[in-house]
């Protein structure tokens, strides 16, 4: 796995798709490829009410990636210093082997360049000390990014607050949602 963690705090996600839009903008992509994607699931019943659920699907940056092994030209690579899996575009010849091999269908086909494009945690931004495009522009702050063990998990934190709140017999104020996100920022 890469040394980074890109967390999605699902309960806070409103599926505004700002992450997808900014991801595409940053990578200069047309309508087709979505290096990160919000997958919406059919409503499930929560306390008698229907509720839509969203899963954020970037790349998992596997420890031993299917795509890297499947790539015949060495275009798909894992960065040694931080484990980011990325495509070196000049080596990609468009055989789509990585797309077929990835169990999550993560590598994306860019029909404009006839090459594969995928989530690389915006490594150019990360190298410049910035956050990935999706995280930077997330409207609700439900996405957080950082070195894995340095990022507090909003779910854990929220659960802890929840326990405390139950003890003191009051409900959690809404403002707590933001505190989770802001702590996630470096």
């Amino acid at each position: 796995m890469s040394k980074y963690e890109l967390r999605h705090d699902e309960p806070n996600c409103i599926s505004c798709l700002a992450c997808e839009v900014h991801c595409k903008t940053n990578k200069d992509l047309g309508p087709g490829p979505d290096p990160c994607k919000i997958i919406a699931f059919d409503p499930v019943e929560v306390d008698g009410l229907p509720r839509q659920r969203f899963v954020f699907m970037p790349c998992y940056h596997c420890e031993d990636p299917w795509c890297v092994r499947a790539c015949p030209t060495g275009a798909m690579q894992k960065r040694e210093q931080d484990g980011i899996v990325f495509v070196e575009s000049s080596k990609c010849i468009g055989c789509k082997s990585c797309i077929a091999a990835c169990p999550w269908g993560t590598p994306q086909w860019d029909a404009d360049t006839n090459k594969v494009v995928k989530c690389d945690y915006c490594k150019d931004r990360v190298d410049a000390g910035l956050q990935p495009a999706c995280v930077t522009t997330c409207v609700t702050g439900c996405l957080s990014f950082g070195v894995a063990n340095e990022v507090p998990d909003p779910r854990r934190e929220r659960y802890a607050r929840h326990l405390l709140a139950e003890e003191s017999g009051r409900l959690l104020p809404m403002a707590d949602e933001q505190s989770g996100a802001s702590e996630g920022a470096p």
Binding site: D42, V46, M57, D64, W66, P72, T73, S97, W109, N114
Partner: protein
């Protein structure tokens, strides 16, 4: 400096093949002095001798001979000595010269090395080009045996033919059972032991771009630049930055300005080029080195195209692909970084392809960067898709691939529409054009050029019998009137296009009938008058009036009636050469003779006729003479047969009809009794290619004749120009602006033979078309369209569907011709050609390789090779492109699609339906295979072969997930649950629900 001094004395360049049979001295010691001195030395002492000399291999990486020997000496078991006569540049003459001129030294060098490990076999690796050059060496080996009085040979000599050079830069020493050297190195070993010559020189072949060409000796310690200047005057190519290309470009490139280096292998290596080059070529400043590098890289890939090369082909392919992407203007800045990496990797692996790539990236970085930024190519070759060679070569620039595709699908009207966009006379050209397009046809490198010429006639005939050509769209009437003088191909073409631009056009012809040289200069057995009439009628019906028998006296008077004038005067006057007796009454001018015959005058010649010429007209004259009473026709030409300007097929025809051909003779006198005396012409042109005949006055020939016909040139009757401002050349042709064809007199344009001199009909058509555009632009006061006179795509026709086997092996059609008995008779002007049948034309159209669609860049082949599949094979051609000739070799295709994604034109693509995938190259299916479908949504996913390919790259536990057979979007929809087996129900919450309370 004389040529002699440039070649070492041990190399006898005048040697004949049999030279090897004659020993240079009567005793073995005398004949092989080096061997005699080596014999007392033990193997390690011989090695020591070589090491002290510092002798290096004479080609390729120039590695130390001592190192190679040391490794060889460490080996055990049977061993053989190898003479490797292959080289990267097939035109390098070093190996051939040594095999022919120093067979004894070669045998001596081998004998010295044979003592190292008691080697019993000698292997001679010969490339196809040097076949036959082994004879002198084999003779020498036999002679050595007889001198030494050996009855049973201890050494076997094996000749391995058709060998190709290796793709390795320095792998000669990898196998320690073989000692491999070039012929030259073997000789230098012998010389070293004989103590005759130092090892500090190497043979080099000087090629194109050098003032002195041929073999020279490169002194290794000397400076390259000063040696280049010393060799007979240095480089021919201008500019300080002339480009030195080593080993035909395969060995790298160096600017002349950087050539102040020593010539030893290390110095060459340090500037990135081949350490021991075998040939040197110089290209002018401004040549596109990026393009040259790309070609070299493809050729290096082709060298590795056999079983042993499989491990290195993907890397060679990547180098070729990245370079090609850059030349096509598809490069990105990252590509140069990748190319640098590839160059390093090539070098690290010891591949020869590193030389061109490394040197070119280093010395011509700016060119590469300009290409990557898509700014400019110094030659204008790159950054845009080249047109098909036929299309670019045709003087009228007919969009040949498009019309052939229409013809192949049986759409004759569309065929004619496409042709007439550039040439209004498809039938005429289909019968008489010398077809330069066919000489350029890519397929000429395979099994014969596409027979393009008669296809035009075929479509035209169908349209004419079917009510005429499709009517072109005429622009609205402009009210301008244009007068055209002359109804030859130039005049008719100008009339046609001017009419389509909406002008009123009137054509004036002094002869009784229209057609100019088409009617009066081309015999009826090639262009029957009724067919010509039919074609001219197709121009007339557009509203062009043609006045025949109308002589124009003065241009001044004539032009007053018109807004613009076009002069398509032609060359109707025969020009006689100034020899004694040329004005005798039995001497005729060729074109006068043809015109008299075509005008219907009673002309009888013979029975013996001598025709003096060599061009197409002289052939027409000779064959016409045979039909006007001659029984014996001698045709003489100054040039040798291969240099005659008449087309080879025409010459063959003439010989077939009984014309006696005498190439290489120039006339001196014509006697009153009809005897014509000739002297032999040794050469017609000087070294610079200028006409400068040299005769042998002692070699004479006399031919008896009743008539002598001189087809030696034509001129124009310029009486019409008297009093006008239109200028004439001193050669007697009209001067006009090269771009617009306007003369010095505003509004007066000129084209055709009368302007550019006697040439072919299709060149007159070109000039008529340009003049029409020039006139139209001038009348509108607008600048002329730059595209006029350049090839323009007229249509975008989908390639014909042709079976792979047919596409590969259909041979060129043979024109059915009537037998000589049928066509050769007095007054018999039956057409010699019968024309292609519909079926033949159909097959011929299906042979077209569609070079307009497949530009032969080789990206598909490179991508396939990078995949490690190698299912695609383009062949190298003499054009600046690769080409598919064999469509039956793609069995290995796995249908991954890499080729279709790198193809810049869509020439190679997939034709998918729900269950199968066809790989199609310009209309030909080269592989069909099934297509798997998504187990959830049923969308097509990939071919089983591609899945197996991926499976082979994954360990079992990872490959197991491929069993799910999901399309990409279904795989993503599954979220983070990559289950094998049944899909989890989405009704159950997919995330931990423990937080739900807080939200409610």
């Amino acid at each position: 400096m004389s040529e002699r001094a440039l070649i070492p004395s041990w190399l006898d360049t005048d040697a004949t093949v049999l030279a090897g049979a004659e020993p240079p001295a009567p005793t073995l010691t005398g004949a092989l002095p080096g061997l005699a001195r080596a014999q007392p030395l033990a193997p390690v002492e011989r090695l020591q001798r070589v090491r002290e000399s510092g002798l290096a291999e004479s080609s390729g990486a120039g590695e130390s001979v001592a190192l190679t020997w040391r490794q060889f000496l460490r080996g055990h078991g049977p061993s053989s000595l190898v003479i490797d006569a292959t080289g990267l540049d097939v035109r390098a003459r070093g190996s051939a010269a040594v095999l022919d001129g120093a067979p004894w030294l070669l045998a001596e060098g081998l004998s010295i090395a044979a003592g190292l490990r008691d080697s019993r076999t000698v292997e001679l690796r010969l490339p196809a080009e040097l076949s036959g050059h082994e004879a002198a060496f084999l003779n020498a080996v036999d002679a050595v045996r007889s001198l030494a009085q050996i009855s049973t040979p201890r050494m076997q000599v094996e000749v391995r033919r058709d060998r190709r050079p290796g793709y390795w830069g320095d792998a000669r020493s990898t196998d320690d059972s073989r000692l491999i050297h070039t012929p030259e190195t073997w000789c230098r070993i012998a010389l070293l032991f004989a103590g005759e010559s130092g090892p500090d020189a190497s043979l080099l072949t000087l090629r194109r771009g050098m003032k002195h060409r041929g073999l020279v000796e490169l002194a290794l310690p000397g400076q390259l630049h000063s040696q280049i200047d010393a060799w007979g005057g240095g480089v021919e190519a201008s500019g300080d930055d002339a480009v030195l290309a080593f080993d035909d470009g395969l060995g790298g490139f160096l600017p002349l300005s950087e050539a102040d280096i020593a010539c030893d292998p290390l110095s060459f290596e340090s500037v990135g080029i081949i350490p021991a080059p075998s040939s040197l070529m110089v290209m002018a400043e401004g040549v596109c080195v990026v393009n040259q590098t790309q070609r070299a890289l493809h050729r290096h890939w082709l060298l590795a195209d056999h079983d042993d090369g499989a491990p290195v082909r993907p890397l060679l392919a990547r180098a070729a692909r990245l370079a090609t992407e850059v030349t096509l203007g598809r490069g990105e800045p990252g590509d140069l970084v990748s190319l640098d990496e590839v160059a390093l990797e090539l070098g690290a692996q010891g591949l020869a392809a590193a030389w061109p790539l490394r040197s070119s990236l280093h010395h011509y970085r700016e060119q590469w960067e300009q290409h990557v930024r898509r700014e400019s190519c110094p030659e204008g070759l790159c950054l845009e898709h080249p047109v098909a060679p036929c299309h670019g070569t045709c003087p009228a620039n007919i969009d040949i691939p498009s019309f052939i595709a229409h013809l192949g699908s049986g759409d004759y009207r569309a065929t004619i529409e496409v042709i007439r966009r550039d040439n209004p006379l498809p039938l005429t050209c289909g019968l008489v054009c010398p077809a330069p397009c066919e000489s350029a046809c890519t397929r000429g490198d395979s099994n014969g050029a596409v027979f393009i010429r008669p296809l035009k006639a075929k479509a035209a005939e169908h349209c004419l019998t079917d009510g005429g050509y499709p009517r072109p769209e005429l622009a609205p009437d402009t009210g301008k009137r244009i007068g055209i003088v002359g109804s030859g191909p130039a005049g008719l073409t100008a009339a046609y296009y001017l009419r389509t631009y909406g002008h009123q056009v009137e054509v004036f012809e002094s002869q009784e009938e229209a057609g100019g040289m088409l009617r009066y200069g081309i015999p009826a057995y090639r262009l029957p008058p009724d067919l010509l009439d039919g074609e001219i009628e197709q121009i007339r019906v557009l509203g062009v009036s043609i006045h025949t028998g109308a002589e124009i006296g003065s241009l001044e008077m004539f032009k007053r009636d018109y807004d613009a004038v076009f002069l398509g005067l032609g060359t109707q006057k025969a020009r006689l050469i100034p020899i004694e007796g040329v004005h005798r009454d039995f001497v005729l001018g060729g074109i006068d003779f043809l015109r008299a015959v075509r005008s219907g005058e009673t002309v009888r010649v013979g029975p013996r006729v001598v025709v003096i010429g060599g061009g197409d007209v002289s052939i027409d004259v000779a064959l016409t003479a045979l039909r006007q009473g001659a029984t014996h026709v001698d045709l003489t030409a100054l040039d040798q047969r291969r240099d005659m300007s008449a087309s080879p097929h025409e010459i063959e025809n003439a010989v077939g009809e009984g014309v006696q051909l005498h190439p290489g003779w120039g006339p001196t006198t014509i006697d009153a009794d009809g005897a014509v005396t000739f002297q032999y012409c040794e050469q017609t042109r000087d070294a610079d290619g200028n006409f400068d005949p040299k005769y042998d006055p002692n070699r004479l020939m006399t031919l008896e004749a009743d008539q002598v016909i001189l087809a030696t040139g034509q001129g124009t009757d310029m009486a019409i120009l008297d009093g006008s401002d239109v200028e004439e050349y001193h050669h007697g042709f009209i001067v006009a602006d090269a771009k617009t064809l306007m003369t010095d007199e505003p509004g007066v344009f000129a084209g055709g033979d009368g302007q550019h001199g006697p040439r072919t009909a299709v060149e007159a058509i070109r000039s008529g078309k340009i003049a029409a555009a020039g006139i139209d632009a001038w009348l509108r006061g607008a600048p002329m369209d730059d595209a006029v006179g350049k090839p323009v795509r007229r249509d975008d026709v989908i390639p014909l569907h042709v079976k792979a086997r047919d596409r590969t092996s259909l041979p060129r059609a043979v024109m059915p011709e009537r037998s000589v008995e049928e066509v050769l008779d007095e007054g018999n002007y039956v057409e010699i050609e019968e024309g292609l049948t519909d079926a033949m034309a159909h097959d011929e159209a299906h042979r077209c390789l569609r070079c307009d669609v497949c530009i032969g860049c080789g990206l598909c082949m490179a991508a396939c090779s990078e995949m490690g599949i190698d299912a695609l094979r383009l062949a190298d051609t003499t054009q600046n492109r690769l080409a598919y000739f064999d469509f039956t070799r793609s069995e290995a295709c796995i249908g991954c699609g890499a080729c279709t994604h790198v193809c810049p034109t869509g020439a190679i693509h997939f034709d998918d339906d729900d269950v199968s995938r066809r790989t199609v190259i310009t209309g030909t299916v080269v592989k069909e295979q099934p297509l798997l479908t998504c187990s959830e949504c049923g969308a097509p996913t990939q071919t089983p072969a591609h899945r197996e390919y991926i499976r082979g790259r994954l360990p079992d536990h990872m490959a197991a997930l491929l069993e799910r057979e999901l399309c990409q979007s279904c795989a993503r929809e599954r979220g983070d649950h990559p289950h094998i087996g049944a899909t989890p129900s989405l009704a159950t919450p997919v995330m931990d629900m423990s937080f739900s309370k807080e939200e409610s």
